[in-house]
């Protein structure tokens, strides 16, 4: 307990100390896209460092652009004892007409001081059929940010919590990676805690990237304070058609006020007006987004470039080559970097334009993402090239992609990179390889990186589990196992009683045979005699030596001797071994009697 208090005090002191080192407020603004079309929303993010005590304008006030402050979040970080507080404010901007707009400096009132952002530019192209003006956020009970294509607002602002999946466009393309935000709104007067750290997706037809760590903010809607939790991710439609967006649910527990326990109602109604302080009900609340339909288009077949390898997004390419000089036969690595935003996972390598005089080997690739969901970044393809003829520059690389905003295929090229690559010494093999490139009508080249496979493993179209050989082999193994089990059981059944009987016979004969020895002490003599009788009893089915002797027919001389033997044995047992010594004649008679009954 004491440790907890001290640690809290230490953290508070650290915050206070760090607060003194806090820097003066600065402000910056970025726009999510420089170009858009009518009806297609973009985001403007304003970051205020150094303070969170700021007053932000509700809109940007640019004629022709609908704008609204739709998100706020706060970050506090301490680096090397220096505390930085930042406020991040997001405006959703929806263009109403085409043109080039300048968003003027946004004036921020930070702790009484007015500071301004740099101006921003936005080019708006004519609206495509995909783009249509999105509805305004409802005045009452509407979810903030729903000006973008998102799930509808809650039916009433009295809801404890609701969620919305914000998709930036009304129509998307199959295979396109679309960054989305999943926002959850929780009534600020009710404490919530998460049961799971990540939302759960239920639905089909879309794949979701991993969710980025959420950001938290506060919003006030119709005078009600809401805590918001925003997860960023990206979705990809796996097929075309009109499909519902999957529901994205967050499992939480809400602590709602509860009545005091029975019997305490009066006390609390007297002092607290009916509700017991601290008495809460924990109620599991599943907050989920609505399954709103979205149209997924197939990539158009018309205008598809020959080298299109499935990239959908917005990309630029740049090429470098190393080394700048290569001796005969040495490779030159041509690195083609594809940067931008889109489906880096699905894109193939760029195509080389007129690679005559070069032998091209299959490329390797690596991807470096610049955001936390892998939507933006750079994918670099490294292609080893070996000059077959003297060359002074690499071939150009050509990359085709589909731009979902412009809704058309785009092909971009790199410039040739100057290198000095020497031709290999003439040899028949090289001459043969170089020959096709020198012919005036080149034959169509195989796909880059594809090779004819020489070795072939014979296969059958009938799967192994349907082939008789599989079942015959398993049945044979099962039969052998059953056979072995059966044989073992039969052997035990056959050998069991006989073996047991033989063991008891051996035991009986051993004990009875030992009685003839004169060297046995009296106690040992009696023990051996009883062992022999006990073994005989087992062989005849009697419970023990006494029962066996009792069961013998009266009248026989041996029966009398055996009873005397048992009596003497009992005497010795109950007298602690101090009975009368055995006469030699007695020993002889009893040994004879035992031998007789055991015969």
């Amino acid at each position: 307990m004491r440790t907890t208090i001290f640690s809290r005090l230490a953290v508070a002191a650290l915050f206070l100390a760090a607060g003194f080192c806090a820097q003066a407020a600065t402000v910056s603004a970025v726009i999510s896209a420089d170009e858009t079309s009518v009806g297609q929303p973009v985001g403007v993010q304003v970051r205020v460092d150094g303070t969170t005590n700021v007053a932000m304008p509700e809109g940007l006030g640019v004629p022709g652009l609908q704008s609204r402050l739709t998100g706020r979040s706060t970050q506090v970080s301490i680096i090397n004892g220096r505390m930085t507080t930042s406020g991040i404010y997001t405006y959703t901007v929806v263009p109403e007409r085409e043109g080039t707009f300048e968003i003027p400096p946004i004036e921020v009132n930070a702790e009484g001081r007015k500071i301004r952002t740099a101006p921003l530019k936005l080019t708006v192209t004519p609206g495509s059929p995909a783009a249509r003006p999105v509805p305004q956020a409802p005045a009452a009970g509407g979810a903030p940010g729903s000006a973008s294509a998102s799930a509808g607002p809650p039916e009433g602002s009295d809801k404890l919590a609701w969620g919305e999946l914000v998709v930036p466009r009304e129509r998307i393309y199959a295979g396109e990676i679309v960054p989305v935000e999943v926002r959850y709104f929780f009534n600020g007067s009710v404490p919530f805690r998460l049961l799971r750290g990540e939302p759960v997706v239920s639905g089909e037809g879309f794949t979701f990237q991993k969710f980025a760590p959420p950001t938290q903010a506060e919003e006030t809607i119709n005078g009600v304070r809401y805590n918001t939790l925003t997860f960023r991710t990206a979705i990809t439609a796996v097929k075309s058609g009109e499909m519902p967006l999957p529901k994205v649910a967050l499992e939480t527990v809400a602590q709602v006020p509860a009545q005091a326990p029975r019997g305490m109602d009066d006390i609390f109604s007297r002092f607290f007006g009916g509700q017991g302080p601290g008495f809460v009900d924990e109620r599991e609340v599943r907050v989920e987004t609505a399954a709103r339909p979205i149209r997924v288009l197939a990539l158009p077949a018309k205008g598809r470039p020959e080298g299109f390898s499935g990239a959908v997004g917005e990309f630029t390419v740049a090429a470098t080559a190393a080394p700048a000089e290569a001796a005969a036969g040495d490779p030159v690595t041509l690195s083609v970097a594809v940067s931008g935003r889109g489906n880096f996972d699905a894109m193939g390598e760029p195509r080389l334009v007129n690679p005559e005089g070069w032998r091209v080997y299959p490329p390797t690739d690596r991807f470096e993402k610049t955001d936390d969901i892998g939507f933006t970044g750079t994918k670099t393809f490294e292609m080893p090239l070996v000059a077959q003829q003297a060359r002074t520059e690499t071939p150009m690389a050509e990359f085709s992609y589909f731009d979902p905003v412009k809704e058309k295929y785009v092909t971009v090229r790199t410039e040739p990179v100057p290198v000095r690559a020497a031709a290999p010494a003439a040899s028949p093999a090289v001459a043969a390889n170089a020959a096709p490139a020198a012919t005036p009508t080149p034959t169509p080249a195989p796909e880059a990186g594809s090779r004819w496979l020489e070795a072939a493993t014979p296969r059958s179209w009938e799967p192994l589990a349907r082939r008789p050989v599989f079942w015959i082999a398993n049945a044979a193994a099962a039969l052998v196992l059953i056979g072995l089990l059966g044989a073992g059981w039969i052997r035990r059944m056959r050998q069991g009683p006989a073996a047991e009987r033989a063991a008891w016979q051996r035991e009986r004969d051993r004990a009875a045979g030992a009685l003839a020895s004169a060297r046995l002490a009296d106690a040992e003599f009696l023990d051996r005699a009883l062992e022999a009788l006990a073994a005989q009893a087992r062989l005849t089915g009697a419970a023990g030596a006494v029962e066996y002797v009792r069961g013998l027919e009266l009248g026989g001389r041996e029966v009398g001797e055996l009873r005397a033997l048992l009596l003497r044995s009992d005497e010795r047992k109950f007298s602690g071994g101090a009975g009368l010594p055995l006469e030699p004649a007695e020993r002889q008679r009893w040994a004879q009697a035992v031998k007789e009954v055991c015969r």
Binding site: K239, A298, E454
Partner: protein, 240 residues
């Protein structure tokens, strides 16, 4: 003796055909390469052979034929990376939406399902026999535990191999080979409403063929009706 010679001659003839296809491909005569490869595959199917046929078809300007043969190669050997890479690039270029990766692909990318089934069932039987013999041994507890674990591990591997085998799944794989693609309809009638349209080269699972119409399943779980004439079964010789 005669039979041996015949088999030997057939083997040489097959090698010659494979060489012929490879040589035609190398000189850029992709149609001849495809023809020779088809003849070879009719004699002896192989995943590599179907991949080569797909490559020849792709270079001959028949992307849908190439996709069909890449799919066939992957059905025979799901771990054939060349076929998987070529298929994903070609399908993307055709505008065929990428199917989400399944656990089946994760497993079969590492080990062939038939190998998993064979090794798993062998291990299970070895474990069962070991269990039997261990019960007679003086160190029976340790050996029986070991044998029991072998039975469990083998059974699990064999089950995984069985479930990972796409050819044992309940649906028959088929490819949309009609040039204009196909519309998946809500009922088997021309005037019924379209659920979605799929381009040529899309793989479907035929749940129930009904003559002129086939009830199909898409990877995402969407089901509907497609004219059977627009489909080609991925397993050669199978009828829809």
């Amino acid at each position: 003796m005669k039979a041996g010679i015949v088999i030997l001659l057939m083997g040489f003839a097959a090698l010659a055909r494979a060489d012929e296809a490879g040589a035609a491909f190398a000189r850029g005569d992709f149609s001849a390469a495809a023809k020779a490869q088809e003849a070879e595959l009719a004699r002896q199917p192989s995943a590599e052979g179907y991949f080569n046929l797909g490559l020849a078809r792709q270079n001959a300007g028949d992307p849908v034929g190439a996709i069909l043969n890449y799919e066939r190669a992957l059905l025979l050997d799901p771990g054939l990376r060349d076929a998987r890479n070529a298929l994903s690039k070609l399908a993307a270029a055709q505008g065929v939406p990428a199917a989400p990766r399944t656990w089946r692909e994760d497993v079969t990318g590492v080990v062939h399902p038939e190998l998993l089934l064979t090794l798993g069932s062998t291990l299970a039987w070895v474990g069962a026999f070991g269990f039997l013999f261990a019960s007679q041994s003086s160190r029976r507890i340790g050996l029986m535990t070991l044998a029991g674990l072998a039975v469990l591990a083998g059974s699990a591997a064999a089950t995984a191999g069985w479930l990972a085998e796409a050819r044992l799944a309940g649906v028959r794989p088929a490819l949309v080979t009609a040039k204009e693609g196909a519309e998946v309809l809500s009922s088997p009638a021309n005037n019924s409403s379209a659920i979605l349209s799929v381009p040529a080269g899309t793989t479907l699972g035929v749940v129930s063929p009904r003559g002129a119409w086939s009830y199909v399943d898409l990877n995402g779980g969407v089901r509907g009706w497609v004219p059977t004439e627009r489909l080609t079964p991925i397993i050669p010789g199978e009828t829809l």
